[in-house]
C-alpha cells in the first residue's frame, strides 16, 4: 500500500466494502429493473386506458425516487468512500484508468435523478405520452449506467493483455467478461425490480391486484430464468486461472471453501422466486406482500453470492495480473525484493518509526502494508490462528517462501501475493507473526 493503512481490528477492512456494496448493488440493480418495469406497465396501462393503474404507478415512481435518491445515491457514495479507505492505492489506479468512464457514469446518474424528479414533481403537467417517454428515459439512463459501471467492474477481473500495454480506456473497458456481465446484470435487475414491484402490488387495492400482479410476475419470471444462461455464459468467460480458483476450492474445510459453498447455496436460492411468482400469476387475489419480500431476500442472497465469487475469483489481485490486493503492482515486486520495501514506502517507514524502529515494529509495519488487505491479526482470517501451530522458525521460513515467484515453489501464489521485500524484511514479518502467539 502506497498510502497509510486503515487498521480495522477483528472484522478486517475488506468486510466494510462487502457490507456496503451488498446493500448498494442490490439497490442499484433493483432500481434499474424497477425503472424498466414502470415503463413496461405504464405502456400497458395507457394502451388499455387504465387510469387507476396509472395513478397507482405514480405512487411507485415516488417510492423509487425516494429509494434511489437517498439510499441508492447514499450507498453509492458509500462504496466509493469505503474503497478509498480500504484500498486507496487501487482506487486511485481505477479512477485514473477510467476518468471519463466515471464522468460518463456521473452524467447518467444525473439523468436518472432529473427524469425521475420531473416525473414525480410535474406529474400533473405532463401529457400521457410525455409521461411514458419520461418513464422510458429514466429506465434508459439507469440501464446505461449499469452498462458503464459493468465495464469498470469487469475490468478488475479481466483487464486483458491489450490494456496492460496501451493503458487506453477502451481496451480496458471492452474486456473478456464485459458483455456477459452486462447481460447477467441486466437480467438480475429485472428479477430484483420485479420482486420489488410484486411487494408493492401485494398490498394494492383488490380490484387492481390482478392487473398488476399478472404482468409483473411474468416480468419477474423472465428475469430469473434469463439469468441462468447468462450466468453460465458469464462463468465461461472467466480467465482460466479465475475459473480454477473457484472450481478448485469447492471442497475442504478452509474459509475459502466455506464461502464458496454459501455462495453456491445462494445461487440455488436465487431460483426459488421463480416458483414464488407463479402464485402471482395464477392466484393474484390471494398473493401477499411477504411472499415477494421473501423472494427478494432470496434473490439478494443469490446475487450477493455471485458478487462474492466475482470478488474472490480475482484474488490475490485487486486488478487481475496488474495490482495485488495489497495495492502493490506486479511490476513493483522485483524492485521491492531487491532494494527493500521499507526504504521505498514512506508510510510503512513512518509506522515503524512511530514504534521505535525495532525489528518487531518493522515487521508489523510490513505486515500492515502487505497482509492486512486480506487478514486480521485475531479476527477474520486471523493470522494468529493461522500460525498458531508454527514455531518461530516456521514463520520466518513461511514468509521467506512467500518471496518465491514460481508457482511450483510457492503454493500460495494462487491466493496470496508474493512477499514484496528482502530476506531480512521477511524475517522481521516472521518475528512479528510469532509475537502474535507470544512466541
Amino acid at each position: 500500500m502506497n498510502h497509510p493503512v486503515w487498521d480495522l481490528p477483528l472484522l478486517g477492512s475488506g468486510w466494510i466494502i462487502g457490507i456496503i456494496s451488498i446493500i448498494h448493488v442490490s439497490i442499484a440493480h433493483l432500481v434499474v429493473g424497477a425503472g424498466i418495469w414502470l415503463a413496461f406497465l405504464e405502456d400497458r396501462a395507457q394502451r388499455a386506458g387504465d387510469r387507476e393503474l396509472q395513478a397507482w404507478l405514480r405512487g411507485r415512481a415516488k417510492a423509487l425516487l425516494w429509494l434511489s435518491a437517498i439510499f441508492g445515491a447514499g450507498t453509492g457514495v458509500g462504496i466509493w468512500v469505503a474503497i478509498g479507505l480500504v484500498n486507496p492505492t487501487a482506487t486511485q489506479h481505477l479512477i485514473r484508468a477510467f476518468v471519463m468512464g466515471w464522468a460518463i457514469e456521473w452524467l447518467l446518474f444525473a439523468g436518472e435523478m432529473a427524469t425521475l424528479i420531473v416525473l414525480v414533481r410535474a406529474y400533473d403537467r405532463l401529457r400521457p405520452r410525455q409521461r411514458l417517454i419520461l418513464y422510458g428515459l429514466y429506465a434508459l439512463c439507469a440501464w446505461l449506467s449499469l452498462v458503464v459501471i459493468s465495464g469498470i467492474v469487469a475490468f478488475m477481473l479481466s483487464p486483458g493483455a491489450g490494456w496492460t500495454t496501451t493503458h487506453a480506456m477502451g481496451d480496458g473497458f471492452f474486456n473478456a467478461t464485459y458483455l456477459p456481465s452486462v447481460l447477467l446484470r441486466s437480467f438480475v435487475s429485472l428479477a430484483l425490480g420485479g420482486l420489488w414491484a410484486l411487494a408493492a402490488g401485494g398490498v394494492a387495492p383488490p380490484a387492481l391486484k390482478p392487473r398488476i400482479l399478472k404482468p409483473t410476475a411474468l416480468f419477474t419470471l423472465a428475469g430469473v430464468l434469463l439469468t441462468v444462461p447468462a450466468g453460465w455464459y458469464y462463468f465461461q468467460s472467466f480467465p482460466p486461472a479465475a475459473r480454477e480458483l473457484v472450481l478448485g476450492n469447492l471442497k475442504g474445510a478452509t474459509g475459502l471453501a466455506q464461502g464458496f459453498r454459501w455462495a453456491l447455496l445462494g445461487l440455488g436460492a436465487y431460483l426459488l422466486p421463480a416458483l414464488l411468482v407463479l402464485w402471482g400469476v395464477f392466484r393474484p387475489a390471494t398473493f401477499r406482500r411477504p411472499v415477494a419480500l421473501l423472494g427478494l431476500l432470496l434473490a439478494c442472497w443469490g446475487f450477493g453470492g455471485f458478487e462474492w465469487i466475482r470478488e474472490v475469483a480475482r484474488k490475490p489481485f485487486v486488478i487481475r495480473d496488474v495490482m495485488y490486493s495489497n495495492g502493490i503492482r506486479v511490476e513493483q515486486v522485483a524492485g521491492y525484493q531487491k532494494d527493500g520495501f521499507l526504504p521505498q514506502n514512506a508510510w510503512a517507514r513512518t509506522f515503524a518509526a512511530s514504534k521505535g524502529d525495532t525489528d518487531l515494529a518493522k515487521g508489523e509495519a510490513l505486515l500492515r502494508s502487505q497482509c492486512l488487505a486480506c487478514h486480521t491479526r485475531d479476527g477474520y482470517r486471523s493470522l494468529k490462528v493461522l500460525t498458531a501451530s508454527n514455531t518461530a522458525e516456521d514463520n520466518v521460513l513461511l514468509i521467506q517462501g512467500l518471496r518465491e515467484l514460481d508457482p511450483a515453489l510457492n503454493p500460495y501464489l494462487d491466493r496470496m501475493p508474493p512477499f514484496a521485500g528482502t530476506e531480512q524484511e521477511a524475517e522481521w514479518v516472521g518475528k512479528y507473526l510469532s509475537s502474535l502467539n507470544g512466541k
Binding site: P9, L85, R96, M100, G101, R125, A346
Partner: protein, 364 residues
C-alpha cells in the same frame, strides 16, 4: 528532519491537461455549493421558521419546503463530480487524509442518509397541520455534520506535517483533525455562509414571486449571517499558515486581490441589503445585494482554491506539473453523452413548466 510521508502519485497519466481538470473541478464544485446553499442552508432556515410557528412563518415554510429534497439530491449528485476531480488532482493528499480519519469520514454517508430521511419527513409534514419542526432541525444538523466531515478531510489533506502524529495517535482512524487550528473557524465560516446564501436565494425568490415576507426574512438572514463573518472570516484568515497568510495580505498576488475583491463585494452586499430589508423598500432593491453576494461567494470559491495550492506548494506539490496525455476518444464519448443529457434536460424542463392540461384534453 525526515521527509514527510507524501505518497507517490499514481503512474497512470491524466487524460487531459491538469488545468482543464482544475477548471472542471471549480465549475462542478461551484454548482455543488449552490445546491448545498439552497438545500442545507434552506433546511436550516425552514426549520427555524417552522419553530417560530407564526402564520406567516408557516406559509413561508410551506412554500420553501418542497424545493429542499430536490436541492439536496442535486447537492449530492453535483458533489460526486468534484470529489472525482479532487481525487484525480490531489489524490496523494486526499486519500491519506481520509484514511487517517477513516471512521468519521465513513460516518459521513450514514449522517447523510439519516439527515436526508429526516428532511423528507419534515417536508412531508409541511402541507399538514402538525409540522415536524424537530425533524427539520435534526435533519439540518445532520446534513451540516456531513459538511464537518468534509472540512475535516480537506483541512487534514493540506497539512502533511500533521499526518505522522495523527496516524500514531489512532491507527484505527478514529480521530478527527482537531489538531489543526483552522478546522473550526473554517467550518463556521462555511456554515454561516450557507445560511447567508440561502437567505439571499430566498430573498431573490421572494422578489421574483412577489412574496414580501420571504424577501424580507431572506434578507434578514443574509444580513445577520454576513455581519457575523467579520468574526469567523477574520478568525479563519489569521489562522492560515504563515506562507498562505503572507500571500493573502501582500496586496499584489492574485490570491490577495481575490480576497479583497470578494470581501469587498460581500461588505457592499451587506450595506445594500440593510435598506432593502426595510418595510417600504421596493422588491427590486433585492437584486443588487443578490448579485453582489453571489459574486462574493464565487470569489471565495476561487480564493479557497488559491489558498489550497499555496498551502501545498509549501510541501513541493504543484498540480500544474502533473503529467498527462490527452485521450481524445474518451473525451469525445463524454462530450456526446454530455450533449445528449443537455438536450434531455432542456426538453424535460420545458415539459415541467408547461401549463396543466385542461380537463378532457387528456385523451387516453
Amino acid at each position: 528532519m525526515t521527509p514527510l510521508p507524501i505518497p507517490a502519485p499514481d503512474p497512470l497519466l491524466l487524460p487531459m491537461p491538469p488545468s482543464a481538470l482544475k477548471a472542471l473541478l471549480l465549475v462542478t464544485f461551484t454548482l455543488h455549493l449552490l445546491a448545498v446553499n439552497l438545500g442545507v442552508g434552506g433546511s436550516l432556515i425552514a426549520a427555524v421558521h417552522a419553530l417560530r410557528g407564526k402564520p406567516e412563518d408557516r406559509d413561508l415554510v410551506r412554500r420553501l419546503a418542497p424545493m429542499l429534497p430536490a436541492a439536496v439530491t442535486f447537492a449530492i449528485t453535483l458533489g460526486i463530480a468534484p470529489l472525482l476531480f479532487v481525487q484525480l488532482i490531489y489524490g496523494p493528499f486526499f486519500y491519506t487524509a481520509s484514511v487517517l480519519m477513516a471512521v468519521p469520514w465513513l460516518a459521513l454517508i450514514f449522517l447523510l442518509m439519516a439527515g436526508y430521511t429526516l428532511l423528507y419527513r419534515f417536508v412531508g409534514s409541511a402541507g399538514s397541520e402538525s409540522l415536524h419542526a424537530f425533524s427539520g432541525i435534526a435533519g439540518a444538523l445532520l446534513l451540516l455534520s456531513v459538511g464537518l466531515m468534509l472540512v475535516n478531510v480537506t483541512t487534514l489533506s493540506l497539512r502533511p506535517d500533521l499526518w505522522a502524529a495523527q496516524a500514531a495517535a489512532s491507527p484505527q482512524g478514529l480521530r478527527m483533525n482537531t489538531a489543526d487550528p483552522t478546522l473550526w473557524s473554517r467550518y463556521l465560516h462555511m456554515v454561516v455562509g450557507f445560511a447567508a446564501m440561502a437567505g439571499l436565494l430566498l430573498a431573490g425568490w421572494g422578489a421574483w414571486r412577489d412574496h414580501a415576507y420571504a424577501r424580507r426574512a431572506g434578507l434578514r438572514w443574509f444580513i445577520a449571517a454576513t455581519a457575523s463573518q467579520l468574526v469567523w472570516g477574520t478568525w479563519l484568515l489569521v489562522q492560515q499558515p504563515a506562507p498562505v497568510l503572507d500571500l493573502l495580505l501582500d496586496g499584489r498576488s492574485a490570491a490577495s486581490l481575490t480576497m479583497w475583491i470578494s470581501t469587498g463585494m460581500g461588505a457592499l452586499a451587506l450595506f445594500m441589503a440593510i435598506p432593502a430589508s426595510q418595510g417600504g423598500a421596493p422588491a427590486r432593491a433585492v437584486w443588487a445585494p443578490f448579485w453582489l453576494g453571489l459574486g462574493s461567494t464565487l470569489g471565495m470559491i476561487l480564493l479557497r482554491d488559491q489558498a489550497r495550492d499555496a498551502s501545498l506548494a509549501a510541501f513541493g506539490f504543484h498540480p500544474g506539473a502533473l503529467p498527462h496525455k490527452t485521450d481524445w476518444l474518451s473525451l469525445g464519448v463524454f462530450a456526446l453523452t454530455f450533449a445528449g443529457l443537455a438536450i434531455l434536460l432542456i426538453v424535460i424542463l420545458r415539459w415541467a413548466v408547461q401549463p396543466v392540461p385542461a380537463a378532457g384534453e387528456e385523451a387516453p
